[in-house]
């Protein structure tokens, strides 16, 4: 699996592979036409092209790197761009100013704080700080139509604080200030006078237009029109009144059209369907209870509703604006700028005299993902551009953040308007998806009316593939069936790969389940659980995590020691206290903490556990008031080693909590843990559920589990197989948003408020979301969907047809607006070779799908097996398990799910060495991927730095140094420092620097470096052996020398060595000349020294035979065999009975 921008962790430098740009890309890279816009389709390598173009400027055009500004959305993307340029250009790559749209603002404001009129020590407000401010300014809201309730039955979600926060978000993103809103709305009295206007229009309709025939309604239309005109003429021409006036204008025009149509009908020139005479009253909202008989329900055209909702938003805004203004004042007072404020302030600064000076810092501005920029960011970019040297890439078909304030027109019309000389270059050659997928994507996006530019994606260099590419699955007929079992079956089949329709068996990490909304994922995840299919849920979908809950409970208990629920949670889940001991602790009137600390240990059944809990709690409670929150948290995790109790997914989830902790507090010195912090955590979720869905964050992707995420999160990623569930009109229908018309009226002028149908606009965005989903797939795209009975698009109601003809162009709302017959469209657009898997791969499994465990002669499903394990464990605890019986042996060959069809193991030198030392440790670490034993944190992690950390740091430094052709110790130091800070491994830094010092005492720095961290893949008699060679040098004697760095204390015997011969065997495939010499470079404490030797062909052949024999033996892996010895001290499982008693310490470093 890979990623458009970044397939490694962000700290990892990835030199662009030696791919030459394709012709379309080359044209763009070499062109010196500016300003240039590249509308690039999905998977066409737009970021690649942009990076290459920057490279070209520096390399070929001699532009100084620091004259180039590159802007993108995510920090990951900015880092990755810098790393790529750096890998290619060396240190110069780091001089490029690669920023996110927000971080450039932060930078500029810091540099020009004085000119911007802000305190240079300003901080960016965190979500928690914004929340705190909103609570502080609640009394500034002018409550008239907004209820003052801060919380209700559903917590904070619908309360005043939440309303204010959302309002500020909507307005600020569009650069609308409280003053703008004040000016637009005018005094409250006036807004209230207007507030019942929609009702008055409806009354006009019901007073005049209730006739029972076309002719009688025709007779009264002029009266209705006259009343409407009178209402209109009473309105002013500014702000809210201009918007309302414009609405009435449109309605009056509609009356004219209705009159004309009815006249034509009376004159016999135009046929009208039955009940057409009801239309005028209906369209003007004159019927109290929706559509009358004869008018289709789904027409959805009671036009006064739009006026009504606009006016009700205006009433809300009238109340909230004072709160918004107070929020701004409060930010200012606390010397904070919020995320949107960064851009607002910077845009204002760029408008000032100093703007030009700032823009002069760069000659070229490069922008990625431009379709996601909002109005403010557009202004910012244009103000940064000098001499029209602007390069913009993006894809209007992938604009899916309009709902967050992005302005899609930025990349089309707005750019045209701002830059007359704009050059367009296309990028339509796709390198990702197979053509049938692209055909579907191309066809489906054609359904998008108002599409600005038409791109047709075409695959280049498509590899041969034998299997279905686009497959559909019809949802089952039953009501509210979610079809989750179908997808479970599909995934099982994909993993087994046995079906003829599939070219290969896929790994779980190859598959992605991309959902429109969270609800679509839940039932499928449950099926995955049940089937034992590994999956990983990305960021914004993360559900309640038990492990994180326990960590949070620990913080709560420390913050409020009287919170006994949290203590019980911690005692149960971390210290595993038994029920009897918990009851002892809860008994009596004393607070639980006092009982925990004061009760004699011999009153407990498991005194050791209670003692540990007591010791930890005492220590942490003492620390609580003096330590900063972050420090306390670090001590908490260190002392309790609580992370060990978490699953990998839970550890990932914990990172979010850690971010919140890091961000807490607004002064230089972080406050200690307080109950207020706990409160803010509690309300965090309900208030900031949106924050996970910004274009500025991207999830980590699992390579060993099915990735489950929203389509929004999947942007920029791709997967061999993509499944999109529940593609139906209902499930994908866009929901309406508040402040639509008001926000538009405020940004684009009062008369824009009713110029567009926002539901229609959101429908278009939904189609683009679908497009993004489709284009994530490389080989196989599985779409699951169905048609609801009522979205049969075939028969259009005659009244709808008539309305369609009558509505004037100035009425933006159309019949059946917002209907999104997605599945019907999919059916129409399907390529000829699309497969229907409904009755095949979605209904039965083919081949062995795994997911079962054999025990005691039974083949058990995952859930049953889990229960069995728990029963056995309980029996062990209770002493009820009779030893010696066969049933204790659990055949775990399939425990890690269907992902590893045995015995297709991939070997490495490390795994072979592990096997040689102990087949059991190999089995645990390389076959079933067992989690490590519990380590007592007090022994190792607290004082020592992991040897492994040091080794990794040195190796990665050496590799980056090689890629950047850096050969001075100081430069190595720099790389090392940067890596250490990126991965928070500062502790390991001194030791790693010592390794660097020792390295520079060796001869290597003067040798020619041929290769570093060279990956290889050896096929030996059908076994796969993979690895990395640290370095290959050319010695002054013109001999190639393979070197493996050792940062450890362990010395290797070259005579008996197998690692180096394996590398030499690999070199036969990698280099034209023969390589016979290899050695170890010791840079750890036993160095610096190099020991190398020559290996003959005979030596290599012997090792090859040896290794082959090992790999063949490993095919029959088992838990049963083990060898105890010295190596047990480094084993992650040395608390098993097989290890000698002396080694019960946690694992050390073993490369």
């Amino acid at each position: 699996m890979s990623d458009d921008s970044d397939e490694h962790p962000s700290w990892f430098p990835v030199p662009e592979e030696d791919v030459s740009p394709e012709p379309q890309q080359r044209t763009i890279i070499n062109s010196d036409a500016y300003p240039m816009r590249v509308l690039a389709g999905a998977g066409t390598g737009k970021t690649f092209t942009m990076v290459r173009k920057i490279e070209h400027l520096i390399d070929e055009e001699d532009v100084s790197p620091d004259r180039i500004l590159a802007l993108t959305f995510t920090n990951n993307a900015a880092d990755s761009m810098r790393e790529k340029l750096n890998a290619k250009l060396g240190a110069a790559g780091y001089d490029i100013d690669a920023y996110t749209y927000h971080s450039i603002c932060n930078e500029i404001l810091t540099d020009y704080a004085y000119e911007a009129g802000i305190d240079p020590d300003f901080e960016v407000a965190t979500d928690a700080e914004k929340y705190a401010i909103v609570l502080d300014v609640l009394d500034d809201i002018e409550y008239r139509s907004v209820k003052p309730n801060v919380y209700g039955s559903d917590g904070y979600a619908s309360g005043a604080a939440s309303k204010l926060l959302n309002f500020i978000g909507s307005m600020k993103r569009s650069g609308i200030t409280p003053d703008d809103i004040d000016a637009f709305l005018g005094p409250a009295d006036r807004v209230y006078e207007l507030a019942d206007l929609s009702e008055r229009v409806e009354n006009i309709a019901s007073d005049h237009l209730g006739g029972r025939s076309v002719s009688s309604v025709l007779d009264s239309l002029p009266d209705a029109r006259a009343d409407l005109v009178a209402e209109r003429d009473a309105l002013g021409t500014q702000g809210i009144e201009a918007s309302v006036r414009d609405f009435l204008d449109r309605i009056i025009e509609l009356c004219d059209e209705l009159e004309a149509a009815f006249e034509a009908h009376e004159a016999g020139d135009q046929a009208l369907p039955d009940n057409a005479y009801k239309l005028p009253k209906y369209l003007l909202g004159g019927y109290a209870n929706g559509a009358p008989k004869g008018i289709p329900d789904d027409l959805d055209l009671e036009l006064t509703e739009h006026l009504d909702s606009f006016l009700s938003d205006c009433l809300t805004a009238r109340d909230l604006t004072a709160g918004y203004a107070a929020y701004e004042r409060e930010l200012d007072e606390r010397n904070l700028i919020d995320f949107d404020g960064l851009v607002v302030e910077t845009a204002a600064l760029m408008d000032s005299p100093v703007g030009e000076e700032i823009a002069d810092r760069w000659d070229y501005v490069f922008c990625d993902e431009f379709q996601d920029t909002d109005r403010l960011q557009f202004d910012l970019v244009t103000s940064l551009v000098t001499d029209d040297n602007l390069f913009v890439v993006g894809d209007d078909d992938q604009a899916i953040y309009e709902w967050r304030g992005a302005n899609v027109a930025n990349i089309t019309d707005e750019l045209d308007r701002a830059f007359a000389a704009l050059e367009d270059e296309p990028l339509e050659e796709n390198f990702r998806s197979r053509q049938p997928i692209l055909n579907l994507a191309n066809e489906a996006i054609q359904k998008l009316d108002h599409r600005e530019r038409h791109k047709t994606l075409k695959r280049v260099n498509e590899p041969a593939y034998d299997g279905d590419t686009v497959a559909t699955v019809e949802l089952p007929d039953e009501d509210d069936a979610d079809g989750a079992t179908q997808l479970r079956t599909v995934v099982q089949n994909l993993l087994s790969g046995a079906a003829d329709n599939l070219e290969e068996a896929y790994n779980p990490g190859d598959i992605a389940l991309l959902v429109r909304k969270n609800d679509h994922a839940t039932p499928v995840i449950e099926e995955f659980e049940d089937a034992g299919i590994p999956y990983q849920v990305a960021g914004d979908l993360a559900t309640e995590s038990v492990g994180v809950g326990t960590v949070t409970a620990y913080l709560k208990a420390l913050a409020r020691p009287e919170d006994e629920v949290s203590w019980n949670r911690v005692l149960l889940m971390r210290y595993r206290l038994c029920d009897a001991d918990l009851r002892t602790l809860n008994a009596g009137d004393d607070p639980l903490v006092d009982t925990l600390c004061g009760t004699p240990l011999d009153e407990f059944e498991e005194p050791d556990r209670v003692a540990e809990a007591r010791e930890h709690a005492t220590e942490l409670l003492e620390l609580r008031d003096s330590a900063s929150l972050s420090h306390l948290y670090r001590e908490l995790t260190d002392i309790t080693n609580i992370e060990w109790y978490l699953s990998e997914q839970e550890r990932r989830d914990l990172a979010q909590l850690e971010d919140v902790i890091e961000q807490y507090g607004d002064s230089a010195v972080q406050p200690p843990l307080t109950p207020e912090f706990i409160d803010s955590l509690e309300h965090y979720d309900s208030l900031f559920d949106e924050s996970g869905s910004t274009p500025t964050s991207q999830p980590d992707v699992a390579d060993d589990a099915v990735n489950v995420m929203t389509i929004h999160k999947s942007k920029g990623l791709d997967f061999p197989v993509v499944l999109i569930p529940q593609v139906t009109a209902d499930e994908w229908a866009p929901s309406s948003r508040t402040y639509d018309a008001l926000e538009t009226g405020l940004s684009d002028g009062a008369e824009a408020a009713f110029a567009e149908d926002f539901v229609e606009r959101d429908g278009r965005e939904t189609r683009r979301v679908f497009h993004v989903g489709i284009t994530r797939a490389e080989d196989v795209l599985v779409l699951q969907g169905g048609i609801e009975d009522d979205d049969d698009a075939a028969d259009v109601h005659p009244v709808s047809e008539a309305v369609d003809e009558i509505l004037p162009a100035r009425i933006p709302w159309q019949p059946a607006r917002g209907q999104l017959p997605l599945w019907t469209d999919v059916q129409e657009c399907l390529p000829d070779d699309a497969a229907d898997w409904t009755d095949t791969l979605a209904s039965e499994t083919v081949g062995r799908v795994g997911g079962t465990v054999t025990h005691d002669g039974d083949e058990l499903a995952v859930e049953a097996a889990r229960d069995r394990v728990l029963d056995l464990a309980t029996a062990t605890l209770n002493g009820d398990l009779s030893p010696g019986a066969e049933r204790e042996t659990l055949q775990v060959t399939s425990l890690n799910g269907p992902s590893t069809p045995s015995p297709s193991l991939s070997h490495s030198y490390t795994s072979l060495a592990a096997y040689e030392e102990c087949p059991r440790s190999h089995y645990l670490d390389y076959v079933v991927n067992a989690f490590p034993d519990y380590q007592d944190a007090t022994n190792e992690a607290r004082d020592g730095v992991s040897q492994r950390e040091i080794g990794l740091l040195f190796h990665d430094t050496a590799e980056q140094a090689a890629n950047q052709a850096v050969d001075r110790g100081a430069e190595w130091y720099e790389i090392c420092e940067r890596l250490a800070s990126q991965r928070r491994a500062e502790d390991a830094l001194p030791a790693a620097k010592q390794c660097i010092d020792r390295y520079f005492e060796l001869d290597f720095p003067s040798y020619e470096l041929i290769d570093a961290e060279r990956e290889f893949e050896l096929d030996i008699d059908g076994h796969e052996l993979v690895g990395y060679i640290d370095a290959v040098y050319r010695t002054p004697d013109d001999e190639l020398l393979v070197i493996d760095y050792k940062a450890t204390e362990r010395h290797r015997d070259l005579e008996d060595d197998k690692q180096l011969p394996i590398y030499l065997l690999a070199c036969r495939d990698l280099y034209d000349e023969s390589v016979a010499r290899a050695g170890y470079a010791y840079v750890g404490e036993i160095g610096p020294t190099v020991e190398s030797r020559t290996f003959s062909d005979g030596d290599l052949a012997a090792v090859r035979d040896d290794v082959t024999a090992s790999m063949t033996r490993i095919a029959e892996f088992s838990f049963g065999r083990y060898t105890a010895g010295d190596h047990c001290q480094w084993c992650q499982h040395n608390q098993l009975a097989c290890a000698p008693d002396s080694f019960t310490v946690g694992p050390g470093f073993e490369e």
Partner: protein, 301 residues
């Protein structure tokens, strides 16, 4: 069988979830403070009604009762409402307006039912006890009123939505059978039983008296009207009588009482049927974060 006397709310806790009873009543685990705001508001309107009833004579004019009520409400609000309970002054003021409107409507001189509740009250905060089949129950009745035919007991609530009614009385049997989870309505049935039976042991009860029981929702209907200068709040309440339901479902209700009473005295705290309880009770439970029964299902996932 134990002679232990239990309150309807203790029984209802057990009916919600036996483990909840274990944590809350047996182990007495201190849960973090829930918002006190509605609790304090309850105190305010209960004490207001109590004091008005105490101070009112049979022939006091309605205006006098009304003015007395408003005066007492204002004092009670100041006494029991704490600014700490509210995130904003505006929120507190709004809640005060709502509660005041409810009292205003209850004691409205022109037809507020509170007028007769006050005039005819013979006991407020009345402690009652009873025992049936050896199971003891006790409780405190908000107000006992003398009617033409006997006694009418009132329990004052914020709202009566979602409480026991003719249409929902059948759920009691389903709860008993483990087919439905209806602790709130079961609680209403327990209250009805405890008060109707309990009041018969009071000195003011005379043989042959008809005994009625009603819940009264003071804020059953509230309306919020927005104006250019602020907002107006009004409230209206009404009662819900459960006497007849008690008669019609007497056996079911007492079977429920026996089951829960015996569960508590027999110290049986396993949550059964677990799936139903997990789905219905766990999401709002104060002890969900520490509950081994719930966590074990989460961990398995």
């Amino acid at each position: 069988m134990s002679q232990e006397s239990l309150s309807p709310s203790a029984l209802a806790t057990y009916a919600t979830c036996p483990r909840l009873y274990d944590y809350r009543e047996v182990q007495d685990v201190n849960a973090p403070d829930r918002t006190e705001l509605y609790l304090n508001q309850g105190t305010i309107y209960h004490e207001t009604i109590e004091d008005v009833c105490e101070a009112t004579d049979r022939d006091d004019p309605p205006e006098v009762i009304h003015d007395r009520a408003m005066r007492i409400f204002d004092a009670k609000w100041d006494e029991h409402s704490s600014a700490d309970d509210y995130e904003s002054r505006a929120h507190r003021e709004y809640q005060r307006a709502e509660n005041r409107a409810a009292i205003e409507s209850f004691f409205a001189p022109d037809g507020g039912v509170g007028i007769s509740h006050a005039r005819r009250s013979i006991a407020t905060e009345c402690w009652v006890e009873c025992e049936v089949d050896g199971r003891g129950l006790h409780g405190k009745a908000d107000n006992v009123i003398r009617t033409d035919d006997g006694l009418h007991i009132f329990d004052y609530k914020r709202k009566t939505h979602g409480m026991l009614s003719d249409g929902t009385a059948e759920y009691l049997g389903e709860h008993l059978d483990g087919e439905a989870h209806e602790p709130k309505r079961v609680r209403n049935a327990f209250q009805t039983a405890a008060y109707i039976e309990g009041v018969k042991n009071e000195p003011f009860y005379e043989d042959g008296m008809e005994v009625q029981f009603s819940f009264y929702g003071l804020l059953n209907s509230t309306s919020f009207e927005s104006t250019p200068t602020g907002y107006d709040v009004s409230a209206r309440g009404w009662g819900r009588e459960t006497t007849e339901i008690y008669d019609d479902h007497y056996d079911t209700i007492w079977a429920l009482i026996r089951d829960t009473h015996d569960g508590i005295t027999g110290e049986t705290f396993e949550p059964e049927p677990f799936e139903l309880i997990n789905e219905e009770a766990c999401p709002d439970c104060d002890y969900r974060e520490m509950c081994a029964d719930r966590l074990s299902t989460e961990v398995r996932r």
